[in-house]
């Protein structure tokens, strides 16, 4: 079962979460940049490379702390993990 829900003072949870937030933030920035600079090949390469890194890190995070996305974008253990807290505004 979900052995590793974030506990009070679980530094690893916050550390891993912030790493993912950092990667995802760069992807948001590059995405908006590419929306107005669609021909910038170097940025597209960086975007694709970070997307790959993000996929690996998100998988690692989800194995430890449960799914990041609903509606079939992540697998679930038993019982259904999605609706379990804590939620982002609570941690």
């Amino acid at each position: 079962m979900n052995e590793a829900k974030p506990q009070v003072g679980d530094l690893k949870y916050y550390e891993l979460l912030e790493q993912l937030q950092a990667l995802d933030f760069v992807l948001v920035e590059l995405n908006l940049f590419l929306d107005t600079h669609p021909d910038d090949l170097k940025s597209i390469e960086q975007f694709n490379k970070l997307t790959q890194e993000r996929t690996v890190l998100a998988k690692q995070f989800q194995e430890l702390y449960g799914p990041l996305q609903n509606f079939g974008r992540a697998f679930s253990k038993y019982p259904f993990e999605w609706a379990q807290g804590p939620w982002p505004w609570q941690v």
Binding site: Q21, F25, V28, N31, L32, D35, T36, F71, W89
Partner: protein, 189 residues
Amino acid sequence: MWVYEKKLQYPVRVSKCDPRMAKFLIEQYGGADGELAAALRYLNQRYTIPDKVIGLLNDIGTEEFAHLEMIATMVFKLTKDATVSEMEAAGLGAHYVNHDHALYYENAGGVPWTAAYIQAKGDPIADLYEDIAAEEKARATYQWLIDMTDDVDLQDGLKFLREREIIHAIRFREAVEIIKDDRATKKVF
């Protein structure tokens, strides 16, 4: 469609118990230049903006929902443990009477959010200039909010949001350049 991601865009921290600040922050939740208005404005305008900049409105509109959730997190954390007397002392007495500890789409003065805050003129230049102005107004609001608190952790999250307004404004200005330059488009159909 949208798929929710169970994480904030930025690690929001609030270190000082200060429900008074929640009353001010609600301006960016349900105010005229707040994140709800921003998200709904861009996501609605995207249907009638030239194809070349639809993606940008779509994506900035989506990011605004992440910012709305950050503001909600700040307000939630500042008020969740406040007693009735603390709410009242923070200027949230009227809010409490109507909403208890619930969040509500209203501005700092308690005025409910209205669609009259946002425009969709259908003219791409007019709409993009409205968007640029909206970003600068939100940036200014974040400055005044940063001025109102000495909690450095709260300031930190607000500074992130302020910087996002600056980046969004650059992108909207680029969008104006893109639609200005699109001269080669065939005029005969």
